[in-house]
């Protein structure tokens, strides 16, 4: 409730400040409740920080005008049932000029049907699954590196350290993680790994003991998989509690969150494929540097940013850049600007595919691997371990 009042307060402030300038409205839903709420809120903070930064600087300047940014956003309850109603509402009643996607691939797919119909640009973040971009959409632009890349990086890193490892895939049975694991399984076999166990678990699973018993029985030494925050953190805790003898654990999404350190010893050594890490040192052609973003974010939210937050902020930057290039908010012009975008920000390179069969798919961005390690003082920190060129620490293998 407090948060809502705070947002209303911010909104009224931005109204007050912008009465002379024009405004653009960006619409999106946030999963304030439900299973996706941790990940979705981090993404939302990225959006919010971008808006406040832009407005503090006097808005987006394009074609000789300034546009202050305001948001129209609702709770989607982590459920696609109302997503279409809410996106339609934002487009028609709140007159949103541009849209950001909800969090997660499946909610995004539902929203995309509405946004395409109204020919509204939607930058998708937190939606790595590729199927949605292969349905013939014209106005959808993906900020995340696609799902296929997530675990291939981990397998490459493993190949370099232990080509004889036996691999188990344990993953959430949801659009995103299935889209990640299916190509990864094939890739693992291609690299010559022995995949000894693979099982998908239902979303919302909290008791992993049966699966863990099977992992132990399979004699796997490496576990890859996971899904989102809730299930991933639980899986890691229980792997630790059952003392499963694993040399490497790479889980999707969850370990990227700053909350991961709350797991204590169970957090140590877990690897996460990441869209962005605070240690990454991209030379930003546009917008803040990574360090500045991290500082501003920590100052505002009292927590380090996750890659969802960075993705959220970067969505704003890319949109802002495209509006500036287009010299206004005309959808066709901004879409054209996005099509020709090839820009490096603190978040890395962003470039969208313009091939008709996969229009909007992210082709510029790449995946990092980050690992939770104890630093010299014993504190838990997340280190970039892959690609080797950008590493901030060596991969710890085996974990213990």
């Amino acid at each position: 409730m407090k948060r809502v009042i705070f947002i209303a307060f911010l909104l009224s402030l931005s109204f007050a400040a912008t009465s002379s300038a024009q405004t653009i409205t960006v619409g999106f839903t946030v999963s304030r409740t439900g299973a996706l709420n941790v990940d979705s809120l981090e993404q939302y903070r990225g959006f919010e920080l971008w808006r406040d930064t832009v407005n503090a600087a006097g808005g987006i300047k394009a074609g000789g005008k300034s546009y202050m940014v305001q948001f129209a956003s609702y709770d989607d309850e982590s459920n696609s049932k109302r997503v279409q109603q809410l996106y339609t509402r934002m487009i028609l009643e709140d007159k949103a000029d541009f849209l950001f996607s909800p969090y997660s691939s499946s909610l995004t797919a539902t929203a995309a049907i509405v946004t395409e119909q109204y020919e509204k640009i939607m930058l998708t973040t937190g939606a790595a699954e590729e199927k949605t971009y292969k349905l013939g959409n014209q106005y959808l632009f993906q900020m995340f590196a696609p799902a296929t890349q997530y675990l291939t990086a981990a397998l490459d890193a493993l190949k370099a350290r232990d080509p004889k490892a036996t691999v188990a895939f344990v993953y959430e049975d949801a659009s995103f993680s299935v889209a990640v694991v299916t190509p990864a399984k094939a890739y693992a076999q291609q690299l010559g790994f022995n995949v000894v166990f693979a099982e998908a678990y239902a979303p919302n699973t909290t008791d992993f003991s049966a699966i863990i018993d099977k992992v132990i029985a399979s004699k796997a030494t490496v576990l890859l998989g996971g899904g989102h925050y809730a299930d991933g953190s639980t899986l890691a805790r229980q792997l630790y509690g059952h003392k499963v003898p694993l040399k490497m654990v790479a889980l999707l999404v969850a370990p990227d969150s700053p909350q991961w350190s709350e797991l204590g010893d169970a957090a140590v050594g877990v690897i996460v494929p990441s869209q962005w890490e605070p240690q990454s040192t991209f030379k930003a052609q546009y917008g803040p540097s990574g360090a500045d973003f991290g500082k501003a974010y920590s100052a505002k939210y009292n927590a380090p940013p996750s890659y969802e937050s960075a993705g959220g902020y970067a969505s704003g930057l890319i949109l802002q850049h495209a509006i500036e290039q287009a010299g206004g908010t005309d959808t066709a012009k901004v879409a054209a600007a996005l099509n020709s975008t090839d820009l490096t920000t603190f978040y890395g390179r962003s470039k969208f595919s313009t091939v008709a069969s996969e229009h909007g798919l992210q082709v510029g961005h790449t995946i990092f691997l980050a690992q939770w390690q104890n630093d010299k003082s014993g504190a838990l920190v997340k280190q970039v371990v892959w690609p080797l060129a950008g590493k901030s620490a060596d991969l710890k293998y085996p974990i213990r």
Binding site: T33, A35, T206, A210, I216, R237, H242, E262
Partner: protein, 286 residues
């Protein structure tokens, strides 16, 4: 140690917690013929109750069960007067709806307070390792606590005056009233115990798995299965049925994907309902 044995021991441990959760549902259902749909939200409150108490006191989580049971009894009495007393003996739909309404309110308030993010009770008891398998101390402690609470309840029902009154009312309310037992008071006490059991089981679950305010729903469904397997109004039977259900899960899970288990469980549930409407441990005659 073989995988299936380890898996069955895990099943046995978690099964006793299912059993404890189902005992509350079974007691209420058996005594007053009310299917308590607040059950899930009370389990969730047990989880958050444990979370709050543990955060505040940082003492041994399993010792905190006692104050939580007291809270559960009080809460049970409140809910009884709010939503249950006036639906006893009314059509089944009335009691379903009135308890469901309370469930919605509790979930709604819980969502407003805690959102639906997962919470953890960071308390751990050292486990026991046999070969490559480790049974976590929390599972062992939770299962033992469940069995102890179940035994205490059984003693209460068999040995104390109040317990005997509850059994008499469950057996035949009209006859019990003729014998001078105040059925309203007995129903209230039984309901309060049912809620306290739900909260206790939620508190135990919170030491094993992360939870959200919505987590109770899954355990409520499991409680239905267990209650029906055991037969109504047989709280101790519910504990045994819970353990059996856990063992079944443990025994089949090495052979099939875990995601099939709900199908087996609820398929079994429907078949048992149709074939033995009085429960497997119930009397054979209709």
């Amino acid at each position: 140690m073989s995988g299936i044995l380890a898996s069955m021991i895990d099943g046995l441990l978690i099964g006793s917690v299912y059993g404890l959760a189902a005992m509350g549902l079974s007691l209420i259902w058996g005594v007053m013929d009310v299917i308590n749909l607040t059950h899930g939200s009370m389990i969730a409150l047990g989880m958050f109750g444990m979370y709050l108490l543990f955060s505040a006191t940082a003492s041994n989580a399993y010792f905190l069960l006692a104050p939580l049971i007291v809270v559960g009894l009080v809460l049970g009495i409140i809910v009884y007067w709010l939503a249950v007393n006036w639906v006893v003996d009314r059509p089944i739909l009335m009691s379903l709806l009135s308890t469901f309404a309370v469930n919605m309110v509790v979930i709604g308030l819980g969502t407003a307070i805690w959102s639906t993010s997962p919470y953890n009770v960071n308390f751990s008891v050292p486990g026991i390792t046999v070969g490559e398998y480790t049974f976590t101390g929390n599972h062992i402690a939770a299962a033992s606590s469940a069995v102890v609470i179940a035994l205490l309840l059984e003693l209460f029902l068999r040995r104390t005056r109040a317990g005997k009154a509850i059994r008499a009312v469950a057996d035949n309310r009209a006859a019990a009233e003729l014998m001078g037992i105040s059925s309203t008071r007995v129903l209230m006490v039984a309901f309060a115990i049912g809620i306290a059991l739900a909260m206790a089981s939620g508190a135990l679950v919170s030491t094993l798995f992360p939870f959200t305010i919505l987590s109770g729903a899954g355990y409520q469904l499991k409680s239905f299965v267990v209650t029906v397997l055991a037969g109504l109004g047989k709280p101790f039977g519910a504990l045994i049925a819970g353990v059996l259900l856990g063992l079944l899960e443990g025994a089949v899970s090495p052979f099939i994907a875990v995601s099939w288990i709900p199908l087996i469980e609820f398929g079994l549930f429907v078949v048992v309902l149709i074939a033995f409407p009085r429960g497997i441990f119930g009397k054979a005659t209709a």
